[in-house]
Symmetry: C2
Subunit: 284 residues, 2 copies
């Protein structure tokens, strides 16, 4: 079994893949989220494992938009991971870490530590990398540069960097949700037996144009069936300012009656509705 | 009158400031969105002019989160600008623009041209700058590097760069909304007389914890009053995965009866409600 993930080694996605799958799965790193999803579509890997949402920074727009507009792969599972951000430097720079010239990481990791950076490194510029792992790899390869990187513990050991400040995220309760995508929506796989799980169903709903109150009617269809929504998220349809679609998470397994009933009703109201996945949500 | 904006010169925000205000306003560039907002709070400038939402890429999270969590400045106006992205290079590199080593710009600008880059520069890495203007300035200062920058026409003339490919955004209908913030919510200002305008009211609503269907009840409060919502956007509260607040735009001036009535009702339901601004929305 092959699992593609947003690499390189030791990204948070890699940490999530390693915590989720039983031994025996082969992990294949991709440089970007679209490349990873494309690889699952092309059959190079059985699954694409990519970040979807962080508790502090919100949705990973690239994942949502690529799934909706480019490669509509079903969601076959989800994994939630606690996120701890640390400040890492090259071992040869350990004593001088308070005088960094630059801080390098993924834009979400930098945003999660914005207050810390503002307080401790107010005038140090930062630069964005494709992933925390890629940033750590770069710092490891460039001992001549006095750069700090924000990344996880796995990155410190993989790239032999020193953790000079632990848990620098601005808010304590930091988690990220990752989705597991596969072209085969009925694919079965074994996960780490220590994980707990609960069922979930995710829909995409696009409202009819220019109907005042349409979202209210959409939510009514779920409300009167007692379908609890754990999330509703708006994203632009890319057809003009003010046009949105909605991603709706229902805290319930897909059934034969209630969810299909709500979907049919929404279509009758003129909405475009799509089932993005009915799956188990795992956590440690 | 002094207006702070996300600089340096020739960013899209600068273009919006120049299109919005009458002659006589002094424009002051800031390096980041938080610095620009902080300057308005400190009284260094009368207004902060910052991007809020793009039609392709969605909300500028940094602006929304900074307004909600750090510096609650009232919105006193809004400006919508059509966005045209071009590929620019240093004039000495014009003939070799198809063999770029790197593409540099703001992350939103790169995301807006994702398909173009995927098709024409599939293996060229990109790097993120604080703004399109900062990226153009860097390319102008480094003729020795073979870098392309995605930016606007004003950046091409300000930094003396060559436009080698025009209108490279992936979707035609590309606009960005900018908000005008001021510590004085009753401040009056004159705008370019060619702009059209319409009134708008923006609220922040935080739902009570763990109430299934709470968002449906919130929308009911607007729906039965015939208050048309042009936008509803969810953002994480940063207190844990699954906790959101909502930004709601109402297509109506703040009045004495309907909007205050809806706000009181939401508070009675256990929501936290805040008026972020009642203002005019301008466009060319």
């Amino acid at each position: 079994m092959k699992v593609g993930y947003l690499g390189p080694a030791a990204t948070f996605t890699h940490l999530a893949v390693s915590s989720c799958f039983q031994n025996g799965a082969e992990h294949v790193a991709y440089r970007t989220i679209p490349e990873c999803i494309d690889a699952a579509v092309a059959g190079e890997v059985d699954f694409a494992f990519v970040p979807l949402e962080n508790a502090l920074e919100g949705s990973v727009n690239l994942t949502i938009d690529y799934l909706i507009h480019e490669q509509p792969l079903p969601i076959v599972g989800e994994m939630t991971l606690p996120i701890h951000q640390h400040l890492l430097v090259h071992p040869s720079r350990e004593s001088a870490w308070k005088e960094l010239d630059k801080i390098y990481s993924h834009s979400h990791a930098i945003a999660q530590c914005h207050k810390f950076l503002h307080r401790h490194f107010p005038s140090v510029p930062y630069e964005y990398a494709n992933s925390t792992g890629a940033a750590a790899e770069f710092v490891s390869d460039h001992p001549e540069l006095n750069i700090g990187v924000i990344a996880n513990e796995m990155a410190a050991s993989t790239y032999e960097l020193k953790i000079v400040k632990r848990d620098i995220q601005d808010y304590r309760d930091n988690h990220t949700r990752f989705v597991i995508l596969s072209p085969d929506e009925n694919i079965s796989f074994e996960v780490n037996s220590k994980l707990s799980s609960r069922p979930k169903t995710t829909l995409m709903v696009m409202l009819p144009d220019d109907q005042s109150g349409a979202l209210h009617r959409v939510l009514s269809a779920f409300s009167w069936r007692n379908l609890n929504l754990s999330k509703i998220e708006s994203r632009p349809t890319k057809t003009g300012l003010g046009h949105y679609f909605f991603i709706i998470d229902i805290e319930k397994a897909f059934d034969e009656v209630l969810i299909p009933g709500a979907m049919q009703e929404l279509e009758a109201l003129g909405c475009k509705v799509k089932l993005l996945g009915a799956y188990q949500s795992y956590q440690l």
